[in-house]
Amino acid sequence: MNPTMLSITIALLFGIGTFMILRRDMIKVAIGITVLSHATHMLIVTSGAFLGGKVPIITSDHESGSGIIFMDDIAAGVFAPIVPEGTEMIYSDPLVQALTLTAIVISLATTAVLLILAYRVYQEHGTTDLNEIRRLKG
């Protein structure tokens, strides 16, 4: 994975999401929220991805000592996803994938609620135009 391309993609997704959130249509706002969440998921994944890193699944034929999975040494100033100099990092950070999966599940639930809400609002108000749905004031 090329980090530059990834960051450009994430930035584009954030831009698209922000643009969609500012639209007047309720469904477009829901889509914007979804795009923004997925941009965030990609951001989380990239925070643990390394150039040329292997998939962090340890099979039974894994030889010990062939690479570092996780380095953490406060005294040497080494923090986990940052690889110390002179060592070879062959696995990606597995934690970020768990985080992303959790975030995806949560964003699924939120998107479902948001879309149902948009549908119910359409039933009650007869429109999905956010400029016409402003009965609460004061």
């Binding site: 999966l101 599940v105 639930a109 479902a112 149902i116 549908y119």
Partner: protein, 138 residues
């Protein structure tokens, strides 16, 4: 969408998708897969039925309360966590049992599988409850 092609294809496909979702669920501990992915796949299979045959038709054949699935799944997942505490371990600590069965051979059972089944049921129940309620809405 009640064309003959869609009906015939979905009758063949849905059982296969359901079997695949169960295999994904059971593979989840050591290989790619898991409760969430399996549950989404199961839910998509049933929603294919709902789309092709219509909610009313499916309900007239077999009436199902998907919210009960949700509740049972959530209960199962939490009870898995609580249950291990009765043995003196911490919440959600996984236990590991190997047993030899006739004909099948040795199978190792990990208590997290019950948690995964719980997640599977929660995802199915949640998604399909939404589908059904929204589809029945007149």
């Amino acid at each position: 969408m009640t064309t003959l092609i869609a009906k015939t294809v979905s009758k063949v496909c849905v059982p296969i998708i359901i079997l695949f979702s169960i295999s994904l669920l059971l593979a989840g501990h050591d290989n790619p897969g898991g409760g969430f992915i399996g549950g989404v796949m199961f839910a998509s299979a049933i929603s294919l039925f709902y789309v092709v045959f219509g909610v009313d038709h499916i309900e007239s054949i077999y009436k199902n309360h998907w919210d009960k699935w949700f509740a049972v799944g959530l209960l199962l997942a939490t009870i898995t966590g609580i249950g291990i505490m009765l043995l003196g371990y911490n919440f959600l600590r996984s236990a590991y049992v190997s047993a030899t069965f006739p004909l099948i051979g040795e199978i190792s059972i990990i208590s997290t599988i019950f948690f995964d089944i719980g997640v599977y049921l929660v995802v199915i129940g949640g998604i399909l409850h939404i589908f059904k309620e929204m589809g029945e809405d007149k």
